[in-house]
């Protein structure tokens, strides 16, 4: 007989867990006692939200399931934003929460909250474990559900008497089978043939590549497919990194802050091959005018995404990697769509992203300098707002899983904890958190975690003393009425120093490279406070509700 707590830790190890991010409390004391002399590594965060984001950052950077742990009530509730963030971006994490003893469930007992009820709409699945005997099976299922099909967060709620209760080892199946859960991995042959037929007839095809390609580790197949069929590729915010930035077929990001040439291409193409993407409103702008001349092939593992926002001509349900492999086997090399590619080259040449250079400290320059400095040897995490969009636009990403950002939920405060998690997945490269002055203050307490564990996260704060993205909207659409978006100056270096972290303030362009170099030379964490042009905007921009080729802040159309 073993305690539930011991069964839990053994089950995590059997699933290959090497690290968990957590925060203790009353009902998880038995679990923490078990962790005390376990070989399972635990990182003590400073707020449970950070534990969830760290597990998420670990999962995105590694492709494995991330794990976080919190106590009942306030601890569990603090995980909620992190779980919702993972849910919206289909990130596999297992969130473990303590719960009051089973005999007190529903009693409003001390620190009780109905966390399975609360997280029902933001988890792929969740469990309230009723006895120690079922714990090992539940953990096995939780990892299986989180990490297969369309991935996502799974929560396991563990009452205190389940952790202390005794049970015998249960023989677990080699492979989990759940009769209500059978993801489709192989695409339907007939549909694939239909897709090939459309491809054969297209004159202006375009690949619209999303986070599903990263999730299914299908970047090599994607690039091969694009090359073989000579089709340009535009990526979503989540798809960045699936094709190298400098690849001649890469058009960069599309949508609200996409490149002009990507958005032009969408508007003029006659065939869209949407792969692991979901026609989100930030991508499509006004739906009726999105890809108005195009037939659509949509490849996705989640049948619920197909036809959700846009009518599709050829739906293919399946794992993106498997479907691309099938397409590659059946496809014949075709002649380049020369006229189309020429047009795109023309757009690229005449409508590049703008990088202002007037002697002031511009964020775009900082991002480009960082990009040139670290090249393909870094993981870049971002917060949310202008900082995120400038990074997405101006950093040159070479590889999948090197760009980590909260897309679907857009969670400010995501970056720093996610960067901590990413470090444990990729200790071989530096991890940068590109932050705004607003976002960093949403989880700034994690300076404590990176300091005490010497987690070498490099924090780049693009400090405009504004909630910049909101200010930009106020400037453009609310007559410059800056209602509650100005943030008073904060000395971030002093804050960092207070935690024992080195830092540097940067006020002019010539200090940028030395500061970034200093951060790389420093073995531990490092905080840089870049005092950027305060009213810099992210351009181009598609105003909400406009067609995506109606951008402001671009070049005159020639």
């Amino acid at each position: 007989m073993k305690t539930g707590a011991k069964i839990l830790v053994e089950s995590l190890q059997r699933e290959g867990t090497e690290i968990i991010f957590g925060y203790p409390g009353g009902v998880v004391l038995p679990i923490y006692d078990e962790l005390y002399d376990s070989s399972l590594r635990h990182i003590l965060v400073r707020h449970e939200q950070a534990a969830a984001h760290a597990a998420d950052g670990y999962a995105r950077a590694s492709g494995r399931v991330g794990v976080c742990l919190a106590t009942s009530g306030p601890g569990a509730c603090n995980l909620v934003t992190g779980i919702a963030t993972a849910y919206m971006d289909s990130v596999p994490i297992v969130a473990l929460t303590g719960q009051v003893p089973t005999n007190l469930l529903g009693n409003d007992a001390f620190q009780e909250s109905d966390i399975t009820g609360i997280t029902m709409p933001i988890t792929k699945h969740n469990y309230l474990v009723k006895n120690a005997g079922e714990l090992s099976r539940v953990v096995q299922e939780a990892f299986y559900i989180a990490g297969t099909g369309r991935q996502g967060p799974v929560l396991v709620d563990i009452p205190k008497d389940v952790s202390t209760g005794l049970a015998d080892d249960v023989k677990l199946p080699e492979k989990v089978t759940l009769r209500g859960y059978n993801p489709t991995y192989r695409g339907h042959k007939r549909q694939i043939e239909k897709a090939l037929d459309l491809l054969g007839h297209a004159e202006r095809p375009l690949i619209y590549a999303g986070g599903g390609i990263i999730a299914s580790n299908a970047s090599p197949e994607l690039v091969e497919f694009a090359q073989l069929a000579s089709i340009p590729v535009t990526t979503t915010l989540m798809g960045i990194g699936c094709i190298p930035c400098h690849h001649p077929l890469n058009l960069g990001m599309l949508g609200m802050h996409g490149t002009e040439y990507a958005n032009f291409a969408v508007t003029e193409c006659d065939l869209i091959i949407a792969i692991g993407a979901r026609f989100d409103d930030r991508v499509t702008g006004k739906l009726e005018t999105f890809a108005p001349h195009a037939k659509i092939i949509h490849i996705d593992i989640d049948p619920a995404e197909i036809g959700k926002n846009k009518r599709v001509d050829v739906p293919i349900v399946g794992d993106v990697k498997a479907v691309l492999q099938d397409l590659l086997t059946l496809m014949k090399k075709r002649d380049a769509h020369e006229i189309w590619l020429k047009k795109i080259r023309h757009w690229k040449q005449h409508h590049p992203l703008k990088c202002p250079t007037n002697g002031a400290l511009h964020p775009q320059y900082i991002i480009r300098t960082l990009s040139d400095l670290v090249k393909d040897k870094a993981v870049i995490v971002s917060e949310v707002g202008q900082n995120q969009m400038w990074t997405a636009q101006h950093f040159c990403f070479h590889n999948p899983r090197t760009w980590i950002t909260s897309g679907g939920l857009g969670t400010m405060g995501y970056g720093l904890p996610a960067a901590m998690g990413a470090h444990f997945a990729r200790p071989d490269v530096p991890v940068f958190d590109i932050a705004g002055d607003g976002s960093i203050q949403m989880n700034i307490q994690e300076f404590g975690t990176i300091a005490s564990n010497q987690i070498p996260v490099k924090v780049v704060i693009l400090n405009n003393m504004y909630l910049g993205m909101v200010r930009q909207w106020q400037e453009l659409f609310f007559d410059r009425r800056y209602s509650y978006t100005e943030l008073p100056a904060v000395d971030f270096v002093k804050i960092a120093n207070a935690y024992g972290i080195d830092g540097m303030r940067v006020e002019s362009p010539d200090e940028v490279l030395p500061a970034l170099q200093a951060s790389l030379d420093c073995d531990g964490p490092f905080v840089m406070d870049f005092r950027i042009e305060r009213e810099e905007n992210v351009f181009p921009m598609v105003p909400a509700g406009a067609a995506i080729n109606e951008m402001i802040g671009g070049h005159p159309r020639i």
Binding site: T116, R179, G180, P303, G307
Partner: protein, 167 residues
């Protein structure tokens, strides 16, 4: 927008009903009727939901229902040949010697059963589709309905077609 009758086969477990209904409420759907009960498989339940919505929205909910781990099968019965029934218990004011005879006549036309006879009331049990029960309720209203209890619709496909786990 028309009523859709969905038949949903689920694991018989705590929380399943709220997972299912949550997918409707988050989209602002009002559930017209709901029936849950055991079915031909011992550890599964069948939920029948009637909900009004446009076809595309309903199709999206069905896809989302299918994604729930505890949902085994979902079918929209709306456009198929099917049998749908509800059961209602109606407690109606029926004073001896006054309206009682009339009510009993209506009861027999509707092939209802009188399941309780009180000094001042009768309880009628009626089984039928929604229209039949609505019609009876309307007729009885003039006599004074004291209480009206009604199950959700249950539905089943005609002929040999089924909504089963397919095992």
């Amino acid at each position: 927008m028309k009523p859709h009758t969905l038949s949903i086969l689920v694991e018989n477990r705590a929380g399943v009903l709220s997972r299912v209904t949550g997918l409707f409420s988050r989209r602002g759907f009002n559930i017209e009727s709901l029936a849950v009960g055991p079915c031909e498989e011992p550890d599964m339940s069948r939920i029948t939901i009637v909900v009004i919505g446009d076809d595309e929205k309903i199709e999206q909910v069905m896809k989302q229902l299918n994604k729930l781990i505890d949902v085994i099968k979902v079918s929209d019965l709306t456009d198929s040949e099917r049998v749908e029934r509800e059961l209602a218990l109606i407690k109606v004011t029926a004073e001896l010697g006054t309206t009682r005879a009339e009510i009993m006549q209506i009861a027999s036309i509707f092939r209802t059963q009188i399941v309780d006879v009180g000094a001042k009331t009768l309880i009628l049990q009626v089984i039928g589709d929604k229209n039949k029960i609505d019609a009876l309720e309307k007729l009885l209203r003039q006599y004074g309905i004291k209480e009206f209890v009604r199950t959700g619709t249950v539905g089943i496909l005609r002929g040999s077609k089924t909504v089963t786990s397919g095992k």
